[in-house]
C-alpha cells in the first residue's frame, strides 16, 4: 500500500487561484497552464510536455468530470523530481511511441478518452503506469479539498459528531 503521501508542494499556490477547469496548455519553458491562465504548474526537473502527459494520464486513470484540473495537478506534481525523472522520461516516451503506432501524434494528442485509455491499457503492467496509478490513490483522493466534491464530510469530532447532526436523517426509505 502506498503510504500517506501528499505530493502537495505547490498546492497552496495552485489553490490560491480559482479552480477553473480547462484543457492544459504548454505555455513555454518551465510551465504548463490552463488556457485561461487561471492556474499553472511550474516544472523544474521534467519537461512541460512530460508534466502535461502525466496530468492527462491522471485524468484518464481516475476520471471525475466534476473535479477540476488543479486537484490532478497536485496529485502528480511530485513526479517533477530527480528521483522520478528517469521513470517519467522512459514511460512517456514509450506511451507516445505507442500513440504514434496507433496513428496519433502523441498520447495527449489523441482526442477521445477511449483512444487514450486503450493506449494506457497497453502499458498497464509497466512500473511507470503502476507507480502513477498507485500514487494517485492517495495523491488525488486524500486531498481534503477534493472531499466536498464527492459529498464526503471528513472528521466530525470537532463538531460533536453526528448525534445531533443527521446520523439517522435518511428520509427516502
Amino acid at each position: 500500500m502506498t503510504k500517506h503521501d501528499l505530493r502537495g508542494l505547490t498546492r497552496r499556490q495552485l489553490l490560491s487561484r480559482s479552480l477553473a477547469a480547462g484543457a492544459l496548455a504548454v505555455t513555454g519553458a518551465g510551465f504548463i497552464a490552463a488556457p485561461n491562465a487561471a492556474w499553472a504548474v511550474e516544472v523544474t526537473v521534467i519537461t512541460p510536455d512530460q508534466m502535461a502527459t502525466l496530468l492527462q494520464m491522471a485524468r484518464d486513470i481516475y476520471p471525475h468530470d466534476q473535479v477540476p484540473d488543479p486537484f490532478y495537478a497536485v496529485a502528480v506534481k511530485g513526479y517533477d523530481s530527480e528521483d522520478m525523472k528517469a521513470l517519467v522520461a522512459e514511460g512517456v516516451t514509450a506511451l507516445d511511441a505507442a500513440a504514434r503506432a496507433a496513428g496519433f501524434d502523441s498520447y495527449v494528442a489523441a482526442g477521445w478518452e477511449e483512444d487514450r485509455v486503450k493506449l494506457l491499457q497497453g502499458i498497464e503492467t509497466t512500473p511507470f503506469f503502476q507507480t502513477v496509478r498507485a500514487g494517485l490513490v492517495t495523491g488525488l483522493y486524500n486531498q481534503k479539498e477534493v472531499w466536498p466534491i464527492f459529498g464526503y464530510q471528513g472528521e466530525s469530532f470537532s463538531q460533536g459528531g453526528y448525534i445531533e447532526r443527521g446520523f439517522n436523517d435518511i428520509d427516502w426509505l
Partner: protein, 522 residues
C-alpha cells in the same frame, strides 16, 4: 503508583503484547496481585492523540513493519507487504477494532464434530465448550460494556443501518439489530456514550468504544503490580537446560538489546507475531522453535471468510455518519450445509471514508468503471461479511528471508482460500446484494477482502499435544511456564468477530495462572 521491576526480577510474569489478549491478561493478573511486565512493540496513544483522518491515523497506529505474503489470496497481489490491518500500539488492535462483541454459538466450539471431516481442512474441536465459557463471556461483556447484554441498551441505528435493516427485513431476515457492541449506548464504567462521530477504526476520540489502551492498561498500572514498557520489541524467548522459559530478550526504545527475566512468559502479539516469535526463538534444544513439538506453530492460519458489499442508490445515504459497524444480520450464522458450505456467516454494516474507499473498493481498479462508483460515494451503503473459514495446514506463518529493522526474520503469511470459503463468500455476496436491491440499489459491488483484521489459529488449542500448540488454558503443551494469550489460540474461527472471545479467554487464563502460581505449580 506505576511499578518498575528489575530486569533480573525472575518472579515477574512477562506478557508480550498489550491488546485484547495481553492487555486484559496484564490487568487481570495485576488485580490479583501478580507482578507483571508487559512489553509492547508500539507507542502509547490515547483518545486525545487519535486522528480522524484515515491515512494519517493509519500512519500513526498501524503495524507497518515489514511482512511478506504468498499464496493465491488477492491481498498478496494488491497489498503484498500488508497482509493485515492491525495496530502497533499500547492497547493493540483494541484501538482500531469496530467493537462487535458476539459470543460463539455452542456448536462452533466443536467444529470437527459438527461439520465432520472436510477435505483439505484441518478441523478440530476446541477442548472447551460454550458451557465452560459462559461465565467468562459474562465477565467479558461486563468489562467491555457490550450493548444488548446485561441491562445495556442497543445503539441507535445510523443511515447505513437503516438501509441495511430495511433490506434485511425485505428478505425475511429476523435477527436484525444494531449489534452487540463494546460501544456505550449510555455512560458506562467511566466512559461516555457514543456521539455517532464515525472513525471507529481510527481510535474513538470520545472513549465510548472499549479499548485496553484507556481501561485495562491504566487500571492495571494503578495497582502498582503492572509495568508497561512501550517501544519494546521482543526478539527471542529464552529457556534453561530443563526446557523451562527463563525470560525474554527485547530491543528497547533506543534499539538496545535488553534481557528481562521471568517466572512465566505469555505471548500475545497476534497470529503473525506470536508464531514468528516462537519460531525465531529456536534453539539447540528446540530447533523447530519453542512449543513446536506438534509442528503446528504458525499453521492453520484463519482470517475469516470476508468481503464487503457496497451499493449505490439514487438518493443520499451518507453511510460515514455514525458508528462504523453497528448493524448485524445473524440469520446466516447457523450451520446449514444445504447452502453448499459448512459453518455460517454474519453480515455487519461497514463504511469507509472516501480515501479508503478509493484504496479498497477494487484495489488496482481504474477508469470510469471505478470512478463512477466513487462519484456516487454520498449515495453508497456498505456491509461486511464475516464467516467461519477453514483451518488448513498450508495456510500460515513461516519465517521470511526478509529481515526487520532489528535484523530479525519477519513473518511470511501464506494463504489460499478453501473451496468452502469461496462457496460461503459467494453466498454472502448474493444475499448482501439481494438486501440492497430490495431497497432499490442501482449498482452493487461485491468487494474483495481487505488486509486481514481477524487473524487466528497459528498456535491453536487442542486436547492432544500432537494436534496443536496449547492446552485448554492457553498453556503450551511443551513448556509449562509458557502461555499463548491471543487469537492465535483459536482452534476454529467461528462466524463471530473474535475480540470478545479473546478477552473472555484472557480473563479465564488470568484466573488459572494466578491459582497455579499460588499453588506453586508454575
Amino acid at each position: 503508583m506505576v511499578a518498575k521491576f528489575d530486569l533480573n526480577d525472575d518472579q515477574v510474569v512477562v506478557i508480550i503484547g498489550t491488546g485484547a489478549g495481553g492487555g486484559v491478561l496484564a490487568n487481570e493478573l495485576a488485580q490479583k496481585g501478580v507482578k507483571v511486565v508487559a512489553l509492547e512493540a508500539g507507542g502509547r496513544y490515547l483518545p486525545e492523540d487519535f486522528v480522524n483522518d484515515e491515512w494519517e491515523s493509519f500512519g500513526q497506529l498501524a503495524w507497518t513493519d515489514a511482512r511478506t505474503t504468498s499464496g493465491s489470496w488477492r491481498v498478496a497481489k494488491d497489498f503484498a507487504g500488508l497482509p493485515a490491518w492491525i495496530v502497533k500500539a499500547v492497547g493493540g488492535t483494541t484501538t482500531h477494532w469496530a467493537g462487535a462483541s458476539i459470543r460463539f454459538q455452542d456448536h462452533e466450539w466443536k467444529a470437527l464434530t459438527t461439520y465432520g471431516a472436510v477435505e483439505g481442512a484441518n478441523l478440530l474441536d476446541w477442548p472447551i465448550d460454550g458451557a465452560e465459557m459462559a461465565p467468562w463471556y459474562e465477565k467479558a461483556e461486563a468489562k467491555l460494556g457490550v450493548t444488548r447484554t446485561g441491562d445495556r441498551a442497543g445503539l441507535p441505528g445510523n443511515n447505513n443501518y437503516l438501509v441495511f435493516e430495511k433490506g434485511a427485513k425485505a428478505l425475511g431476515y429476523k435477527e436484525v439489530h444494531t449489534g452487540r457492541m463494546a460501544i456505550n449506548s449510555a455512560d458506562y464504567d467511566g466512559r461516555m456514550a457514543c456521539q455517532q462521530t464515525g472513525f471507529c477504526f481510527q481510535g474513538c476520540k470520545w472513549g465510548a468504544k472499549w479499548s485496553a489502551a484507556y481501561t485495562d492498561i491504566p487500571r492495571g498500572e494503578a495497582t502498582g503490580n503492572l509495568e508497561v514498557r512501550d517501544h519494546a520489541h521482543v526478539a527471542r524467548i529464552l529457556h534453561d537446560d530443563t526446557g523451562k522459559v527463563t525470560g525474554v530478550e527485547y530491543f528497547d526504545k533506543d534499539g538496545a538489546l535488553q534481557m528481562q527475566k521471568a517466572r512465566i512468559v505469555c505471548v500475545a502479539g497476534n497470529s503473525f507475531e506470536s508464531p514468528r516469535l516462537l519460531l525465531n526463538s529456536a534453539s539447540s534444544m528446540f530447533p523447530e522453535g519453542l512449543a513446536n513439538s506438534s509442528g503446528m506453530v504458525g499453521k492453520n492460519y484463519m482470517r475469516h471468510t470476508t468481503g464487503s458489499v457496497y451499493a449505490i442508490f439514487d438518493k443520499p445515504v451518507r453511510m460515514w455518519r455514525g458508528t462504523t459497524m453497528a448493524g448485524i444480520v445473524q440469520d446466516e450464522a447457523r450451520h446449514d450445509p444445504s447452502r453448499g458450505f459448512v459453518g455460517g456467516y454474519e453480515l455487519e454494516t461497514l463504511s469507509l471514508g472516501l480515501p479508503f474507499m478509493a484504496a479498497f473498493l477494487n484495489p488496482g481498479g481504474w477508469g470510469r468503471g471505478f470512478t463512477t462508483a466513487l462519484d456516487h460515494y454520498e449515495n453508497m451503503a456498505g456491509m461486511w461479511i464475516v464467516g467461519e473459514d477453514m483451518p488448513q495446514l498450508g495456510n500460515g506463518v513461516t519465517l521470511s528471508e526478509t529481515k526487520d529493522q532489528h535484523g530479525l526474520p519477519v513473518a511470511n503469511v501464506n494463504f489460499d482460500d478453501h473451496p468452502n470459503d469461496v462457496a460461503m463468500r459467494n453466498h454472502a455476496y448474493r444475499q448482501g446484494i439481494a438486501m440492497y436491491e430490495a431497497v432499490g440499489a442501482t449498482r452493487v459491488f461485491p468487494t474483495p477482502p481487505y488486509p486481514s483484521t481477524h487473524n487466528l489459529g497459528t498456535n491453536r488449542m487442542s486436547a492432544e499435544a500432537k494436534d496443536g500448540v496449547v492446552n485448554k488454558w492457553g498453556q503450551t503443551h511443551d513448556i509449562a511456564n509458557l502461555f499463548v494469550s491471543d487469537g492465535s489460540q483459536f482452534t476454529s474461527g467461528a462466524a463471530e468477530n473474535p475480540t470478545l472471545t479473546i478477552v473472555a479467554l484472557a480473563i479465564r487464563q488470568a484466573d488459572h495462572i494466578a491459582s497455579e502460581m499460588a499453588a506453586g505449580a508454575i
